[in-house]
């Protein structure tokens, strides 16, 4: 009985200790971002690894999600004879929810896991230690450019996801099902729509920040063994996806209520 409470207590304590480490880690990495002004090359390199290399999965996923939305939407709306609202439906679904959320989850799986594994391996092969001994702060040199690259990439990838998704919808709705082009595209000029776009961008900025933070922290905080690295990558994807979905609910409640 006592053992049970002791274990729970230890687990709670460990969680708080980890949160503390994560905040300390974040603070110093954010400071490191300022030192990137003098070395933009480090950032550009990471933008390539983190952002550009995620492009293909984002393009393909966005296209299919848009096509499915168009198809599903058509089968529902055709019963009510309002297929001219398909454009609104597809664009709002993408911009408000699916774009930011799916991009963040795909990003956690594609780039987040790679970041966690890379940093975890650098730790377990003493590369981070060696850097510290060479008077180079790994939080500034290694973590900061990756964190910033993630923060920049995710909103941009989200915009691309949305655009491609809308085109995917066009392919199905206009080209295959023969809905009028004008009604599909003629939705984007309401004031509300621009609000929605802004809200979607804010969401994706929050998701990008949190998912990348989780990835680099899991890598940095891993136990320096093969098992530790594999656990870090798994946790990055699982925690990244859960954090995205949880935050999405909170942000949606704040934005649309």
């Amino acid at each position: 009985m006592f053992g049970f409470f002791q274990r729970q207590g230890q687990a709670v304590f460990a969680t708080f200790a980890r949160l503390g480490r994560a905040s300390f880690f974040l603070w110093h990495s954010l400071i490191g971002i300022f030192s990137l002004i003098k070395r933009p090359l480090l950032l550009i390199q990471q933008l390539h690894y983190v952002g550009v290399r995620s492009l293909s999965i984002i393009l393909v996923s966005g296209l299919f999600v848009g096509m499915v939305l168009g198809l599903q939407g058509y089968t529902i709306l055709v019963n009510f004879g309002v297929t001219e609202s398909l454009g609104v439906m597809v664009s709002l679904t993408l911009v408000r929810e699916l774009g930011p959320v799916l991009t963040a989850i795909l990003f956690a799986g594609r780039a987040g896991s790679a970041l966690a594994a890379e940093i975890g391996l650098m730790k377990s092969t003493e590369q981070l230690s060696a850097m510290e001994m060479m008077a180079v702060n790994p939080l500034h040199r290694i973590i900061a450019p990756r964190l910033l690259a993630g923060i920049i990439s995710v909103p941009l990838l989200t915009l691309i996801f949305n655009a491609v998704g809308f085109l995917g919808g066009h392919v199905v709705v206009v080209s295959l099902l023969g809905v009028d082009v004008g009604s599909y595209w003629g939705t984007a000029d309401s004031v509300d729509f621009y609000n929605d776009v802004m809200n979607g961008i804010i969401k994706s900025m929050v998701f990008g920040f949190v998912v990348t933070w989780i990835a680099v922290f899991e890598g940095y905080d891993t136990a320096p063994t093969a098992e530790g690295v594999s656990r870090a990558t798994t946790r990055t994807v699982v925690n990244g996806a859960l954090a995205t979905l949880g935050l999405d609910f909170i942000l949606t409640a704040l934005m649309f209520s």
């Binding site: 650098m122 092969t125 590369q127 060696a130 850097m131 001994m133 060479m134 180079v136």
Partner: protein, 267 residues
């Protein structure tokens, strides 16, 4: 800060360090003279690597003080510690090369991080350092294409890139064949004398280490069990020292990690 001691570069005073319940160091005192090669020997798992990390300030002892060139490691600010580390070179047991950079960029890494030297000069310096470890031909290789011994030598070239005042070697001789051992031993000696470095070698290769060290410490069970010049130690009648130098299985130095009674574990 206190005035830098002109004779001793590193001083370790009454140091205690624990891993869990186990005392890795139990009130040890050591001093490492300037300009000399000091070797620290001890059986595997006694805490030799830990000692180097304590000198480099990567871990801070529970009790006792580590002084390097007049600075108290435990009380330095982050900035002060980093300033001090720029003057320290450390050769890790595994080499610890940065795996995403090739040999050239690895050796150039500290130069690029800490100086604004033009590329042409960096190139010259890197080639000089690599030449001195015999690996100038390997500039374009990636760390994954090097053998363990080669990786260690590249790491040595990197460690001397900034012309440090002290070089800490963690097991430099393991993984070296007799030829590169000879070259390496002479290199450590000539680096030490030509650049007026202070070298600390951590090792359990008795023969090799005795050949080049000016002064030796032997640690076991968290204590310094013997010290002196190699000649003095060979003359010493301390059973610890004799057992270690002559590699005898029986004696006060235990081969086993502390464990409960063997018979008890079996039943």
């Amino acid at each position: 800060m206190k005035p830098a001691n002109s004779e001793q570069l590193v001083e370790i005073k009454d140091l205690c360090f624990y891993r869990g319940e186990r005392a890795i160091f139990d009130h040890i005192n050591m001093s490492i003279p300037r300009g000399k090669i000091t070797a620290i020997m001890g059986p595997s798992g006694t805490g030799k690597t830990t000692l180097l990390r304590l000198i480099g300030g990567q871990i801070i002892p529970e009790q006792g003080e580590v002084w390097v060139d007049g600075e108290h490691i435990g009380e330095l600010s982050h900035k002060g510690l980093y300033q001090l580390r720029k003057r320290m070179g450390i050769l890790f047991q595994s080499g610890a090369l940065l795996t995403d950079l090739n040999v050239f960029d690895n050796v150039a890494f500290p130069l690029r991080e800490h100086s604004d030297l033009p590329d042409a000069l960096i190139k010259t310096l890197v080639h000089m350092k690599l030449q001195s470890v015999g690996l100038r031909g390997a500039v374009k290789l990636m760390p994954s294409e090097l053998s363990g011994g080669m990786a260690r030598r590249v790491a040595l070239a990197r460690a001397i890139a900034l012309d440090p005042m002290i070089l800490l070697y963690d097991e430099p001789f393991t993984g070296q064949d007799p030829i590169s051992f000879g070259v390496l031993a002479r290199l450590i000696r000539s680096l030490n004398d030509a650049l007026q470095l202070t070298s600390v070698i951590v090792s359990h290769d008795v023969q090799e280490t005795c050949e080049i060290a000016d002064y030796l410490y032997i640690i076991a069970n968290g204590k310094v069990v013997g010290q002196g010049t190699p000649e003095e130690l060979y003359q010493s009648d301390s059973p610890w020292v004799q057992q270690f130098l002559k590699a005898k299985p029986d004696g006060p130095v235990p081969f086993h990690y502390p464990a409960p009674d063997y018979a008890e574990d079996l039943i």
